[in-house]
Symmetry: C2
Subunit: 528 residues, 2 copies
């Protein structure tokens, strides 16, 4: 069985000194898939980094419009091959071909690519700033080649060579070295083929998109700390993320991580009184979407103890128990859920329903609901925030709103936090106290809505305080904000007008680009 | 001799379990100054961090106008005490009371404070972003308590409790724990007294400004990695900065470093032909300003070899030789210059003039000019980029413009880089080639101008690629851009209108604040 090629330096080529090979497994049948993919060593990394450095240079000289055309062509290419992409991705991930892959994730992916293209054409994202009095002008520009590590749970929308990080890096003018998620190498290969076609049709440097499938840890450390690399975007486990972060930090290389989150839901007393069954159903739906394998899936729900809290718990437990568990992405995820549950139970949580992997011809784990008292959580908040990446939720029964607020204060950094409250305002005083604390712990604060929908909006924050991510100032989703992870600030002091980049000349380069001129945002030319 | 108090948790108090004491030294006389300052241990750090956490919470509830008033009051207070501030600072640093301290640095400092106040009132810095369709709204908000380590070379303008980092942190809504530079603890104490008065007069939480003077290294590591801390701003040596970075990185705490730079100057052939003496004089003036102790002082100058290059070198050498060396900030800086010169000479540079510390009743080092060939530099570029923090410059004689470009490519990250070229355009082809490479190595690119003037402008970048700083996306000087180091991104998803912060409500909170509403920057209300 021959190994699939890597895409490096503008060529599909065999991996050099390959450190082995692997195949993906169909989670719906537990059977290995046919194709074999190479594990890359230092030689592949070195070649890719050098080619990326060269591509970064060439990209700086490319017309912005070529970059935009690439992103548009790529989106069109994905649509043209939607059937085969959905087919491979479904085999590699066990996710439903429809609606999930075909009607939700694929359109989201092409939409992101096109939003990226629009941002490139618009140019406003680079926040060109002009001080006419001091004759100083600044703009954000590309940071250099970006390494993207994609997660296992979104084979298209967060793919290392097609997803949000990829679009952000490319739109900011950087080439990308994608490190495929090993769960779906075939999907990633197919996407890279389409991307590479678009690279050629749009006239971008051949090494604008490169692809490796897998590296031993120390080779990955070299990749993120290589002198030619500008920055890294990573979505995945905390364990892997923190190891890569340590390597990148030592080399002074920015790395943006999206790692883990329990996405707490607080249901205030009035809301529970008003609409208990509806909230229970929303929670169930959100927890089981994609078999619970979403970064923003709620992991902890906090309600008041007593009869109504018990009724809520019973309602949710019924839904969890009766629901058919979704197919998980792989065996390791299944094992990780079991280990996380052991951790939670050994620190005082009780399993209400689920808690084990049924015998099945596919990877799955029973929908699992746990319970614990607010006091138990506060006694050991770190252990009880262990993330179980599946259809798992722990309901905390708090003494009162004061204890809910203490629970919020004991939370580590999260992507999201949500508060359900009575529509008539009877919870407003409690909301104020709780939200003040919760706001500091989360990147996105929601009202009356589960967090699993992550809109691709300029106002989205798919980020949050450590350890949800590595830096609370950045978002991984949303255009143009997500581009700002992959930029360097460039100032021009007394530089002669004809030598300035188009974005900083007196004349507005598009006639519509927003620029900060002498303190005011404007679409006009600099007054002559 | 009693020790001076630290300012912690809203009180001037003795350091607890002090690890010793130190006094500043007057560099102009080499005599210790009278006052004794404590070295702080873990107890002081713990108390300060907890108080800062509480102050951060209280600050979030303060009217924005109180923060602005604090910054304005503080500026006024500094002006009222200008005589005594200049007097203490001159004694502790050896810098000239006038014009340097009184007419340049002090007004720059009060100007920064007032620009910060204006930014707080204007609110546009927080980049409020509103997506009416998705009902998502985001804004930058305070990241949490900020630790500021001030450098030795600007006792006012970069002071840990008065300078650019301080203003940026406060204006973004964060309390500050200042770690004084140990070269000017008395100046810092005096500033903190004025700041604390302004804290009281403006009604801010008492622990908005705190001050420690010195910590052993491991206590400093605890400070930057403490759970209560949001971020750190550091200006100083690469050695100290990288140690603090390692500690902060391990804890997942952002740290912004401004460390070292050789600020290369490239003089193209036409410029040398056109205005050799003028450029030589500009270089000399820039290298000797503040005894060469500026982060942006040129350390390396690149010219073409041959008769004109030698003439330039001779001209600069004459100026260096005839100039009286300025007073250095201290004995350690003097020793560091000697060590850096040893490093440069042992790797092939030759001393043209200077090279030693004269016998003198003050700390000083002869103005020193070195030379090396372009080839010698390219043979060992790392060693030949050793920073000598004083009136020191090394002239590289390059074979041709191609070699100049190779030299630019071998540069590590720098704050600035400058190209002098013929005013008539005869150097333009060379400029294009060289600038393309140099642009990637520096935060601020200059034409025909020395880099030592760092304007406080929205378009300034006082930052640059590693190891000049820790992240190329941020600037330490310039308002509002410098505030963006000390913020977290906060998104509000479906949050009820009356619960939104003022910046994100439909009504524009000032009637003039710039907000990004549905993709367009606007000062209007959101259409109802």
């Amino acid at each position: 069985m021959s190994q699939k090629p890597i895409l490096v330096a503008g060529q599909w080529r065999p991996a050099k000194n390959s450190g082995g090979a692997f195949s993906a497994v169909n989670p719906a049948t537990k059977t290995p898939l046919f194709d074999s993919f190479p594990v890359s060593g230092l030689d592949d990394v070195e070649l890719a980094c050098r080619a990326a450095e060269e591509a970064a240079r060439a990209l700086r000289a490319c017309p912005r419009d070529s970059i935009a055309r690439f992103l548009d062509d790529y989106a069109t290419g994905i649509e043209a091959q939607a059937d085969s992409l959905v087919d491979i991705a479904a085999q590699e991930t066990g996710l439903a071909p429809s609606p999930r892959l075909r009607s939700v994730e694929l359109p989201r992916t092409t939409n992101q690519l096109r939003q990226g293209a629009a941002a490139v054409r618009d140019r406003s994202w680079c926040q060109a700033t002009i001080d006419t009095k001091a004759n100083l002008r600044s703009t954000y520009g590309p940071i250099g080649p970006v390494v993207v590590f994609g997660p296992n749970n979104f084979p298209f929308a967060f793919n290392s060579v097609a997803g949000g990080d990829f679009v952000a890096a490319i739109a900011a003018g950087n080439p990308v070295i994608g490190k495929a998620n090993t769960g779906h190498p075939g999907t990633t290969l197919k996407l890279a083929e389409i991307a590479f076609e678009a690279v050629r049709s749009s006239g971008l440097p051949p090494a604008t998109v490169q692809l490796l499938y897998r590296t031993p840890p120390e080779v990955g450390f070299r990749l993120v700390s290589h002198p030619a690399i500008g920055a890294t975007g990573f979505t995945g486990s905390k364990n892997a993320g923190l190891q890569l972060k340590a390597a990148a930090d030592r080399a002074g290389k920015p790395i943006y991580l999206e790692m883990s989150s329990v996405n707490p839901i607080f249901v205030l007393p009035g809301a529970l009184e008003e609409r208990l069954p509806a909230i229970a159903k929303e929670l169930y739906d959100s927890c089981t979407l994609g078999a619970g394998q979403f970064c923003t899936r709620p992991g902890v729900t906090v309600v008041g103890k007593g009869a109504r809290g018990e009724a809520f718990l019973a309602e949710v437990a019924g839904l969890f128990e009766n629901g058919t568990p979704g197919t998980l992405l792989g065996a390791s995820g299944m094992a990780a859920i079991g280990a996380a549950l052991d951790e939670l139970v050994s620190h005082g949580a009780e399993i209400v329903t689920g808690g084990r992997a049924p015998e099945a011809p596919r990877y799955c784990f029973a929908n699992t609901l746990l319970r614990a008292s607010g006091a138990a959580f506060l006694a050991d908040p770190h252990a009880l925030q262990t993330e179980a990446f599946g259809s798992v939720n722990m309901i905390l029964l708090a003494d009162d709103v004061a204890q809910m607020t203490e629970i919020a204060a004991a939370l580590e950094g999260n992507l999201t936090g949500c508060i359900y409250s009575h529509t008539g305002g009877t919870d407003d005083e409690a909301y104020t106290r709780l939200a003040e604390v919760l706001r500091q712990r989360v990147g996105r604060l929601l009202n009356d809505k589960m967090p699993t929908g992550v809109a691709v909006s300029p106002a989205m924050n798919h980020g949050g305080p450590y350890p949800a991510t590595g830096h609370p100032g950045f978002t991984a989703v949303g255009i143009p904000a997500s581009l700002l992870r992959f930029v360097a600030l460039r100032s021009y002091d007394n530089v002669r007008p004809h030598r300035l980049p188009a974005e900083l000349r007196d004349e507005n380069p598009t006639g519509k680009m927003w620029r900060l001129i002498d303190g005011a945002w404007s679409q006009r030319d600099v007054a002559g």
